[in-house]
Amino acid sequence: MVLTRRFLYLALVLSAAVVVFPAPATLLGCALLLVLLAALDMVLAGSPRSVRVERVPTTDVRLGQPTTASTTVHHHGSRRLRGQVKDGWQPSAGARQQVSPIQLGPGSSSRIETARIETALRPTRRGDLHSEHLSLRSIGPLGLAGRQVTHRVRHTLRVLPPFHSRRHLPSKLQRLRELDGATAVQIRGAGHEFDSLRDYVRGDDVRSIDWRATARRQSSQGQHLVVRTWRPERDRRVILALDSSRTSAVRIEDEPRLDSGMEAALLLGALAAGAGDRVDYFSFDRGVSSQARSGMRGDLLHQMAEAMSTVEPRLVEADFSQLPGQIRMISSQRSLLVVLTSLDSGSLEEGLLPVLPALSQRHLVVLAAVRDPELDRRARARETTGEVYRAAAAERALIEKEALRRQLASLGVEVVEATPHQLPPQLADTYIRLKASGRL
């Protein structure tokens, strides 16, 4: 049952009658009139049950981008349906106008009236967002009362990670291209592909001069030294392992560690795919919670984003012991393994360190972690007694991290630790550096 504002105004207008004829009978009569009118209107209203709600599938959207979710309402009732619909999107979907008016003519078994409801959304959270129901309110012809029914039909919108670090991508790709041909890579060894010959310019390594080619290009104008250029190897493997366990739930600055890790993984994935490497991504806590690989159909970046979108931190300890097996399943050849986790002595010493020797023997391991600038700020504040004790606690945490870094470095692991906004570009730089030095 629904009563409208018009019903309220009618009741207020009827108070004039109560003033003119002040008797209990008038009260009773007016109340009876109101009840009768409301009942009549409710009966005459088009049945909100005689509709079928159909959700139009949504397209994936990046966090922060606006989108529109559509729903089709098919009406087959015999009476006119007039009223409002409310789409039950969860608050983080950011529906701008949740209640919208609807008007549907009388339908029949042969003729079905259809209306389309558009809800403008601006999601504020990554993941699968839902609208569990659509409430339909049908108002009678007098506009005094009506009926309301909630149709439980689920609507889903997948919101992908925002990938703010995309802005770093052009410059990093440019760096890669520079490596690709313009500069000669000097470290000799297996796996360096010969790329092309070009004229010597000052600064080139004299050892890369190709004397045969130089001899062929001798002309009357003078000497033309020709150098060989090398380009970094292609078709290397990059494996991105994202830790989604309890340590990833920590909020640093204004985003959880998990989201910073995703940004870094997306940037590195896009970069490596652009450089012609094969990228595999998976996130894990007790087991693998999402997975994407460049061998699959479609754009790698989109696949990674889609796989990441539903990953949420879980309050369990990460099971690093499964990591070697998982990586063996992905690739048997030497790869660049990037573990995006935290430099947290507790979880790393128990979990990752025992399996690291096995991993770093076969693969090149990079550990990327978000650094908490809050710790540095605390370590520097030394005004009051309380601050000094807090500074001591922060320093202790920093010392532990430092010790852990050294331990990891001694195992041959590259450690990249940076603040949330700095982590993606720094991880990309590390990758470019490793590629340039031919360590992949």
């Binding site: 629904v2 009563l3 108070s15 209990p24 009260l27 129901h133 000094v388 945490a397 010392i399 340039a436």
Partner: protein
């Protein structure tokens, strides 16, 4: 299996569909029950409907069984109306502290042959009846115990008292010029009696005798029936505080308002209810938001800091700060992976041009109190700042130059620099090889 599931879901959806009406029904039933229970409850002392020990419910039940119609009058106004309505009916005035107004007392004096029974266990009612006369209140009579039973006495003029023979209840005793009944004691002022006759009617000082607890004791039941059960109607007036004022003294402000105000108020109340229904109806069910887990960063550090402070861990904190600064100094001065403490102090002293012994003393200081610790921590921070500034001025382009100067100093510092820098450096180094 599937049938039960379907039945269950049907029931559930049915419940959801009729939820509002079911709720309305339950609320209505609750409201009716509440109103009934509130209106039925009579907790007044000596109340006719009160079924507890100090109530009169038993008395009123018995009187009604004997077809005596009791007309309760909670105010003087109603009592007056009832008196004119039933000209011969006996009147009971039960006072529990409040007394009727003067006009009513005058009416009692001019009652004609209407029997009047006045019940009170205090002196107020009697004082109101005899405002100018001598003090008639003789004292309280204790209740309970076999010795406290009072005999009607030979001089008793009232048939009711003679038939009841004894009374055994707490109450008040009064002096009277005329013979009364149930004499408590006698002294110079005369006999102190529980039941006396006044010009306003029969005055009985022990209303507690007729309560549910005491009605069956001694001759209470007989006395009650003789006093109250004589006629078919009985007017029962209990004076209340406010009705001592009569019409002329106190006019209700309601009397000056127009007729339509009360119905309008009721109607507007109804409109408010309608408004609640209109505005309170949700356009759809409440939608929940599943919130992900989030832990504030630096929580462990904060907790540990508070623990240090509450334990006054001066030595441990100083030690931690010292190690942290030594590690950072070693990195600033590019002294390799694990330098000795003495070499750090030496290098730092050379960098800031201070006496190594002085720096060694600073670092070896062992704070004992909180104030010492703060000073120590600040001194360490200052030293690090100085070293850093000196390092910057020695290498004008700052830490981010790479370089020829550094290459000879071992591999330690290179690893400590940020990866971007390392990248350039390595690239250049390789091209120079």
């Amino acid at each position: 299996m599937t049938t039960t599931a379907t039945l269950g879901s049907t029931l559930r959806s049915g419940f959801q569909r009729w939820q509002f009406w079911l709720l309305l029904l339950v609320l209505g039933v609750l409201a009716v029950a509440l109103v009934r229970s509130v209106s039925d409850e009579d907790l007044d002392r000596f109340g006719l409907g009160n079924t507890s020990l100090d109530g009169y419910a038993a008395l009123s039940e018995v009187l009604e069984d004997r077809e005596v119609q009791i007309h309760p009058a909670p105010s003087a106004e109603i009592a007056r109306e009832l008196l004119t309505e039933h000209p011969g009916a006996p009147l009971v005035v039960l006072s529990t502290g409040d007394v009727p107004d003067d006009a009513f007392v005058e009416g009692l004096r001019a009652r004609g042959d209407r029997p009047v029974v006045l019940l009170s266990e205090g002196s107020e009612l009697l004082s109101a009846l005899h405002p100018e006369g001598p003090e008639l209140y003789a004292g309280a009579h204790p209740g309970g115990g076999s010795g406290s039973a009072l005999e009607a006495g030979a001089q008793c003029p009232l048939d009711a008292a003679v038939n009841a023979a004894t009374v055994q209840a707490p109450g008040a005793l009064f002096y009277s010029d005329e013979p009364g009944c149930f004499t408590g004691f006698s002294d110079d002022a005369g006999d102190a009696q529980m039941l006396i006759e006044t010009d306003a009617g029969v005055f009985f000082g022990a209303p507690a005798a007729f309560t549910n607890q005491n009605i069956t004791d001694a001759g209470h039941a007989a006395l009650a029936l003789w006093l109250f059960g004589a006629e078919d109607d009985l007017i029962w007036y209990t004076p209340m505080g406010l009705d001592t004022l009569d019409d002329q003294q106190w006019a209700s402000p309601m009397d000056f308002l127009p007729d339509w105000v009360t119905p309008l108020a009721w109607w507007l109340l109804l409109c408010v209810l309608v408004m609640m229904l209109v505005l309170g109806r949700r356009p759809g069910p409440v939608v929940g938001e599943p919130l992900p887990v989030q832990v504030p960063a630096a929580e462990t550090a904060e907790g540990r800091g508070r623990m240090y402070q509450s334990a006054n861990a001066v030595t441990a904190s100083a030690q931690t700060l010292r190690s942290a600064h030594l590690i950072r100094l070693a990195r600033l001065l590019r002294l390799g992976a694990a330098p000795r403490e003495a070499s750090i102090i030496d290098a730092a002293a050379r960098q800031v041009r201070r006496d190594p012994a002085q720096l060694g003393a600073l670092l070896a200081r062992q704070p004992r109190r909180n104030s010492d610790l703060v000073a120590y921590a600040q001194a360490l921070a200052q030293l690090e700042d100085e070293v850093q500034r000196a390092a910057l001025s020695h290498h004008p382009s700052g830490r981010h130059t790479n370089g020829q100067q550094d290459t000879g100093r071992g591999s330690g510092p290179r690893n400590e620099q940020d990866p971007t820098h390392l990248n350039h450096q390595q690239g250049k180094n390789t091209s120079n090889d």
